[in-house]
Symmetry: C2
Subunit: 405 residues, 2 copies
Amino acid sequence: MLTVKTPDEAFSLIKQEFTHGCLPKEYVPLKEACGRVLSADILADSYVPDFDRSTVDGYAVSASDTFGCSDSIPSILRMDGEILMGTDAGILLQPGHCAYIPTGGALPRGADAVVMIEYTEDYHDGTIGIQKPVAPGSNLIYRGDDVCPGKTVLKRGRRLTPQDIGALAAMGIVSVPVRKKPVVGILSTGDELTDITETPGPGQVRDVNSPMLAAAVAQWGGIPRTYGIIRDDESLLRQAVSLASRECDVILLSGGSSVGEKDVSCRIIQSLGSLLLHGIAMKPGKPTIIGKISEKPVIGLPGHPAAAFFVSRLFVRKILLQLAGCDEEDRAVPAVLSQTVESNHGRAQYVSVFLERRDGILYANPIRSKSGLITSLAGTGGYFCIPRDCEGISRGETVMVTCSG
Amino acid sequence: MLTVKTPDEAFSLIKQEFTHGCLPKEYVPLKEACGRVLSADILADSYVPDFDRSTVDGYAVSASDTFGCSDSIPSILRMDGEILMGTDAGILLQPGHCAYIPTGGALPRGADAVVMIEYTEDYHDGTIGIQKPVAPGSNLIYRGDDVCPGKTVLKRGRRLTPQDIGALAAMGIVSVPVRKKPVVGILSTGDELTDITETPGPGQVRDVNSPMLAAAVAQWGGIPRTYGIIRDDESLLRQAVSLASRECDVILLSGGSSVGEKDVSCRIIQSLGSLLLHGIAMKPGKPTIIGKISEKPVIGLPGHPAAAFFVSRLFVRKILLQLAGCDEEDRAVPAVLSQTVESNHGRAQYVSVFLERRDGILYANPIRSKSGLITSLAGTGGYFCIPRDCEGISRGETVMVTCSG
């Protein structure tokens, strides 16, 4: 007998039952890699930079030639010419000499520092006055200062950001090892559902969950595959789930919020695979099912769109991260609760909010609607959680809002 | 003479000079709309729900028939059958009668409340015992409870989330008015640059900025168009900028970190359009240029990738939001600084960090590297700002980290 689990127990179960990083590897071109999850550590294979570089516009010098100089008593150095960008310095600097060097230019041999141009004066007679002493290494980055061969630059499991793309580009990595995107099958069930392009007849509602979940899956790095609306017929649903379990990496069943319909979903999962969890002690979202068919996660979501969204945001997203081997966690922002929210039902309660800044303060305005379809979805900016042992949170208290989406 | 501006002055200038929401409108299918910016308010055009619905599994009743009932003295009601999902209720409930109704079912005429099945007993003789009184309206959402025709559901300028897609689906909006994505031209300049597929020769470095900025632009909702590496030649660069200003909505010039090269960029922008700003008092990122050519923003970025990233994250992203008419703001998360960072140069300083949770506490580990290419990019999770009038932030203090990317 499966008992209702807390959200934390459900997270542990996901960690236990589905293999971390089990999605196959593939290589993608660098320009398609942003947002993808690395399947292998990235090690540097060369020195970056590959030569000693100036970090300023100025004069390459031997630092000892500048010791003791000042505005009033500059060191006078002989000017040996200019280092050109993108070329080997090609000069061997003698003591008492200097060479103009632009930002990023290669330090000539014989030099060990750069003086910023602001502290120099060109006398236009082939000599330069240095007005400020520099220590060896000043205004320089040395070969390998940034990375040396063998250093781990990015770790397996990281979701690549634009800056990471920059780092990969710097190392000349043009083909990037990543996890394949999981294909997520989305099945909506319910006789009351019509396609969103149709006008609902009496007693009917549009299938909100399919397009909403497809958008969410894409945002979380998956490839949504929708299977349309399946009538409340156990054998039809079984066929569809069986097909989806062959074609997809993850299956989402949405709808069937009544007890009888949930039982049907459970029976189907049990007959094709195994049931791991039936019910999560949270509000909204209690009638959630997690199972697996051929090691693939199958999640039965509540029929109500706002509840289906919460359960997906928390658990489906976690499953997608787990399969990709990605351990990134949610980031929550502090906001002041603008209205008291009560909670006294012994379950963790997730409250949708819209975020609004007034007079420089970020407020979380809780969205309350009975079981409204649209007002509990449209314009929401995030959510916070009231733990099960808490009776509510008062207006004016700070809550940590996880931005949804 | 253009003076150096503070970051806040630069933001004001962007607001002033570039028209809010000037990108053309287009309609996209609902399934491509997530992440896009609405170009018009979305109003409800019908009642949602379109009929009175039950929010639970139970019995539709006339509330007055339940008054005074209890566990020990239930109200006995005659059972008139079952409301089927997705159909008109079709029943006219008489006083003293009830009908089974599933979650989401349409309330039959004559009923004004639903009793949860948990508080009922089926006597299997055509009667049902009701053990708990309900008030009129209990466990119901009325027609239009969620939205009524004419209500603004989503506002122009909003970036659509998966939940918004759900709300649009609920209203049957399958074609969504959004702003066109801006095409952002990316030009890298510098004789020292090689394509990332090439092995840099002596004194050369790979063009990191083009792929990094392209990834960032795509993440911020733009369409990157890269123009490759342009040699340090004023007339070549002028031609390229002129071409890009015809083909793109925004132009990014990256590289040219030396004073001379910046002067070239300024001259080109002035000759083709006008220069608005030359220098932002921030670190990194001081040598930033903002101008416009035919009303299109042109931004001259520092050559150093980490600096180019910061300037883009702050100002290019802001410009893209401005053109799309989107006012969303950054969300920052609190984190404990793990090392003291000093700042005493009178400029706002932006510090890259990687975020790490230890013992439940989120730490911001500042990334310090001279002008390292890779270590200042790879693996960074966000940044915080030390204001210009602050001499630094001590280890253990809480900083607000804006997640980059």
